[in-house]
């Protein structure tokens, strides 16, 4: 035990936080690859209109349902639209919606969670009972009900996915706050006369942040799966806009007649993206976990 503490202190003394972060990142090749892949995905999404080989919405009557070839690397759909171009353009929606909704849920959930955890009392009780009720619904099923009720514009989809995520952050931050507020530094901050908001958001919150970031990264993958699932059953992104789940849905009926490329490739795009989010989340957990820090 003493040696471990000794080693940790030693590492903290001799190495800056940044250097230690970089060293451990380089050690885990898989996480590093995943970090790079996320960067690549973001670049593709930003540059999408510039790098698509063909116009993603331009039908071509001479190239209907073509197999993957040099002219159409991932084939064409039943309107003759180029699949690769559509997948690239769709990456914008498929990254933006999970990202914005996760950010929104993170902000709302951690704000309420922080207040509940720090204050406790009747307010906390009421909010927690509400959270219990929301969590009684499987997330995807709740998302179905909500989009069916409020309609499926992009803004609504962001809101719906955020709502299904809020309880997780709220609970997590509340639990962290309950623990942190009893720590010595929290008592010290109070003793020297800091106002409550300052203790919560300046002193305690930064210590709860690492676990939240891990949770958020993992949740992005889940948000993407929710979005794609909603689009698949016709509640999400509507044609002619492209989204990976929607593209799978369009190709579904053709799959049983042998046109495999229409659904296969957007599915691989989803699989890879979610996989990358999960790997980055796991990697971040290893990086930020104090137990493995300094080793």
């Amino acid at each position: 035990m003493t040696t471990e503490i000794g080693r940790a202190t030693y590492a903290a003394d001799t190495e800056t936080v940044y250097a230690s972060f970089r060293r451990r990142l380089l050690r885990n090749k898989l996480s590093l690859a995943a970090f790079c892949a996320i960067g690549l995905l973001v670049v593709i999404a930003i540059l999408a209109p510039l790098i698509v080989p063909l116009d993603p919405n331009e039908p071509d009557a001479n190239a209907v349902l073509e197999r993957p070839s040099w002219a159409h690397m991932l084939g064409t759909d039943d309107f003759g639209r180029d699949e690769l171009s559509r997948i690239i353009i769709a990456s914008r929606t498929d990254l933006l919606v999970p990202f914005v909704s996760t950010l929104l849920a993170l902000a709302i959930g951690s704000l309420i969670g922080a207040i509940c955890g720090f204050r406790g009392g009747w307010l906390d009780q009421i909010v927690m009972r509400m959270v219990d009720a929301v969590m009684a619904f499987p997330a995807f099923v709740l998302a179905m009900g909500l989009t069916a009720a409020i309609g499926s514009s992009i803004t609504n989809l962001v809101l719906v996915i955020a709502v299904t995520q809020i309880p997780a952050y709220l609970r997590q931050l509340r639990a962290e706050m309950l623990r942190e507020r009893e720590m010595e530094y929290a008592h010290a901050a109070r003793t020297i006369g800091n106002p409550t908001w300052r203790i919560v958001f300046i002193h305690l919150f930064p210590n709860c942040f690492p676990t939240l970031i891990v949770q958020a990264t993992l949740a992005m993958g889940f948000a993407l799966l929710t979005l794609a699932g909603l689009s698949y059953i016709g509640l999400g992104i509507q044609p002619p806009d492209s989204e990976w789940g929607e593209m799978i849905s369009e190709g579904a009926s053709l799959m049983v007649t042998g046109y495999w490329w229409l659904s296969l490739f957007p599915g691989i795009a989803i699989l890879m993206t979610v996989l990358i989010f999960n790997l980055v989340g796991d990697g971040l957990r290893d990086l930020l976990d104090p137990r493995t820090r300094g080793r």
Partner: protein, 338 residues
Amino acid sequence: MSFLFFVVRRVALLVPTLFGVSVIGFLLAYLLPGNPALVKAGPLATPQYVAEMKHKMGLDQPVHVQYTRYLTGLLHGDLGESSSTGRPVLTDFMQRLPATLELTVASLVLALLLGVPMGVLCAVHRDTVIDHFGRVFSVAGVAMPSFWTGLILIYVFFYLFGIAPAPLGRLDPGISPPVPITGLYTVDALVSGNWHAFQSSLAHLALPSLTLAISVMAPLARMVRAGMLEILETDYVKTAWAFGLPRRLVIYGDALGNAIIPAVTALGVVFGFLMAGNAVVESVFGWPGIGNYAVKSLTMKDSGPIQSYVLLVALMCILVNLLVDLAYSLADPRIRIG
């Protein structure tokens, strides 16, 4: 603490949750923009007719009166009427529920049959090729959208190999359903000795249940692996090794029983995942369950069934979680204290 007291307390704790769930159900069905009166009146209705419809449905009443009405209806089993089938939603649900249950139970059993041995294998052969393969599979399993997995399975087993039946429903056309006893075709066919129907229903059940099983077996396997790794380090397992007991006996006799406990407590969560996956997977396979029914109604601009579906699924999840907790506390008395 006696078991009875535990049951009473556990059920009492459900009251606020059930209240909250009913409020959310009410919000979804009545308060949010998709105005039910407008839907019921049809797109060509005059504003006057819509107002009349609103009055008839009680939508011009204050919110708490509307909620009371909604709750009373709910308690009497009134989930409203489906405008696409023209029948009470509850009747439609009851007719389709056995199909959903059959699929859910089959995929749960399949997930356990595949996931538990996988977790054990990975733990016993820690950091070998088997373990790495298991890990890749776990990570990929949760990253795959279940509807996509389903489509790939259909392509491979129906289109390419031709060994799976067409993904349309629960039986081949031309085979009449077995005598209804439980509503689960496979069980009914087996009980009544209807061999043809049994074969056909089992074949139809295979791919959808495998699809759902793949999506939930990864977390199960991971939990069993983690539990197993911990148990393998305990003194009593080491003692068992030291006594020279056969490998199989130690792993499956001494270790697995305790390693599996976390996985059992997670069954409620797994059930929730399965129910969430159902709606989509049923649509892929044309499986005539409640999820498929809700999604189909939606494409006909009928949002009533989907709201009842959301509520029903939440209630089923609450019930399953309750049963899991109670069963678990019977098995492990320590829980009752906590």
